[in-house]
Symmetry: C2
Subunit: 430 residues, 2 copies
């Protein structure tokens, strides 16, 4: 694992190189995706069935073969070992309870002229949730996407999850049952995104699509953005740990692993004020790694994109963290409250030695869908607010029309928009 | 202007055809923009100066020639006729006062185990505002983009505004002064977007870019999305008026004009329960049109994309409106309060006969940057919330780590993520 010293002259250049990640958009993928989307738009169900049979090795005859009933979701939940069923329900309850606090409410007020101004908040009607199938199956992602939509008041939540060779995952389907998914289709890829964005004879058109997927799914989401809303296009996952040496080194090493085990291109960085502690964590890494089932992924990730960085003090660590704007930030220090006000940009902040990132991934309550690749500078975790929207409310009184009309008239004439000015003037001459 | 009857069998197909709009992305524009962006990323100031001289017919030698000082903004404001200066200030005060109410605050709570959960709200550090130059100069857009950023607490607001052949617009620069713009550059096009997104020797890198522009600007914003945040990619402007026949027909005609005068592809639609009133509005249109300076644009827009639609009742009008999800919705009826709860999707709702859309465009208070092309189904007006973001806060207590750790461990093992499970287990075995 690389070691950097923040007092080195090259430090900023080294840090920039460490963070650099090219999200190469492959034009071949874009072209293939555009063709699939156009076909789904034109042929609807028939195209979805064809691509699903082709890519997922299934033999569906009709969309009915690709839809899961509520009974099937419930049965999957009931097949789960009791321990898993209970854990899913406990996690869902905590996630729901946190997200309830994010719900936005409408508001309005009257100004001195009796003009009413406000904001009406409404839920999206119908959303689509993309859940990856195959190798990586993440029931926790089902909860994290569906529960905020449900809390927002979305009436219909459509889940799509590919089932390569017909393999269904009970934990994913059980999570859909727990989270209140309305309908579920065993479709994936660009064809699933197209079905949700345009609607088919069977799949209803949604208003927004959220959830992670492979390069084809990401390209398809980017292509349909505008026709429907989408969540962020996600980059590789990252963790930044700020440590003062008070957390057991094994704990911090395992937190770095739990990011690194996602992917060879995941990024785990540790900032510490204490060189001896960095050496201790490095020793913990060497000791703990051999027992990890995903040790090959972890060691590739730590070697390629990990770093142990010695910093002058915790204030400097916070500055570096604000530059990185990490997806996950652990303040693994004795007094995390002292650092919190210094943190301007981070997806989620895990405070104190007991708060491992993995608790936040599953069940603390906040969402685990977080801004990556420095985008926490300008964006937020997935939340209830992503499934609600606002309409401005304006109700001008007769007195208000006199006063506002004069201002609008001057400005509209200044912009050369005479009809705008006249529309205001008709009301105050009245 | 076309007339439709909502009871006709073809109505839904007619409506869909009326709303259809292809936002054709021109691959030639994308390629040209990609080359400009790459050049700005590599050569910085030098590239910005070259493109500006080439496209805007200027003769800048250095970036100093392309930057406006605070003194120049102030002087522009002071050169304005007193009436315009006062109108800008009055509009800014109302816009600021409305937007203050949108400001989000941080919150947190402790659960029964002493675990702290919450959301920390922070402002973006630095944003860029694109203001079109040349033919269409909209000082009101400067207010509508800069004031929400200012209210959010953004420390640095960078305005870019091209000045073809060196022509500066005092009202635009004066609006920048009133709105509290920090720095202003007389650059535009893809080169300005690139300068803001990547930063140059002189132009600092921003975290988000908002504001409208031509096809090159839109393509450049789409291309840099992810490196920085962007606002919505805007389509043609639209108004939907729901009328019950109680508003003077001239007023409604002028409201339809004030949308149509923006652009030949702008869309003005009137829904009414009363056929005689539709004929009255049509007569008003014929009477008022000849006196409009922008009558050619208005009549092209009304002919191409306008419609007068007879509906069964106001409930049906609201249903049609929810399908359209209009940018601007006027409830030009005697009792707009009765309709408001039925409206699920609209950018801004103008209630009652005194509320012309133009009052909202300039000075009522709410933002005039609104979701177009049915995107009010899933998005909101530009607001303070677009310049703030949230970080989740999690501080697990020792007791919380016992309880949450067990849940996380079960779910992580279920997903095959052993390091995630181990990180939780280390804390509850402790």
């Amino acid at each position: 694992m690389r070691r950097f010293d923040s007092t080195s002259n090259d430090f900023h250049a080294e840090l920039t190189a460490l963070l650099a990640f090219e999200t190469s958009q492959d034009p071949q993928v874009d072209l293939r995706v555009a063709a699939i989307l156009a076909d789904v738009k034109q042929r609807g169900d028939a195209a979805v069935i064809d691509y699903t049979n082709q890519f997922d090795g299934t033999a569906a005859q009709s969309m009915a073969d690709l839809e899961l009933s509520q009974e099937e979701l419930k049965a999957a939940f009931e097949r789960l070992p009791q321990e898993q069923a209970a854990a899913l329900q406990a996690a869902a309850a905590r996630v729901r309870s946190f997200h309830e606090k994010q719900k936005m409410a409408s508001w309005s007020y009257e100004d001195e002229d009796g003009t009413l101004l406000g904001q009406q908040v409404t839920a999206l009607d119908r959303v689509g949730i993309y859940v990856p199938g195959g190798k990586a199956t993440y029931p926790s992602s089902v909860l994290m996407n569906a529960i905020p939509a449900h809390v927002a008041g979305v009436q219909e939540i459509i889940m799509v999850v590919p089932t390569p060779r017909g393999e269904r995952n009970d934990m994913v389907l059980g999570a859909a049952y727990v989270a209140g998914v309305s309908r579920a289709f065993t479709i994936g890829g660009a064809q699933a995104v197209g079905a949700l964005a345009f609607g088919t004879q069977t799949v209803p058109q949604v208003d927004k699509i959220t959830g992670p997927g492979n390069a084809y799914v990401a390209a398809a989401k980017r292509a349909v953005f505008g026709i429907v809303g989408i969540d962020m296009v996600a980059g590789p996952s990252e963790i930044l740990v700020i440590a003062d040496g008070t957390t057991p080194a094994d704990w911090v090493a395992m937190d770095l692993f739990s990011q690194a085990e996602h992917d060879e291109i995941a990024q785990s960085i540790l900032l510490c004020t204490n060189a001896a502690y960095l050496a201790e964590v490095e020793a913990s890494i060497a000791k703990l790694l051999p027992n990890q089932p995903r040790k090959d992924i972890i060691s590739a990730s730590l070697a390629n994109r990990g770093a142990l960085i010695l910093v002058k003090d915790l204030a400097q660590a916070c500055e570096i963290s604000n530059y990185i704007a990490p997806e996950h930030l652990e303040l693994s220090v004795a007094d995390p409250d002292a650092l919190l006000p210094k943190i301007r940009h981070a997806g989620a902040i895990f405070m104190g030695q007991f708060t491992s990132e993995s608790l936040g991934d599953y069940c603390a309550g906040p969402n685990h869908v977080l801004p990556t690749a420095r985008s926490a500078r300008f964006s937020s975790p997935l939340g209830v607010y992503d499934f609600q929207k606002r309409s401005s409310i304006i109700k001008v009184s007769a007195a208000g029309a006199q006063k506002l009309g004069k201002i609008a008239s001057v400005l509209a004439h200044g912009e050369g928009l005479t009809a705008h000015a006249n529309a205001a003037e008709l009301r105050f001459k009245a």
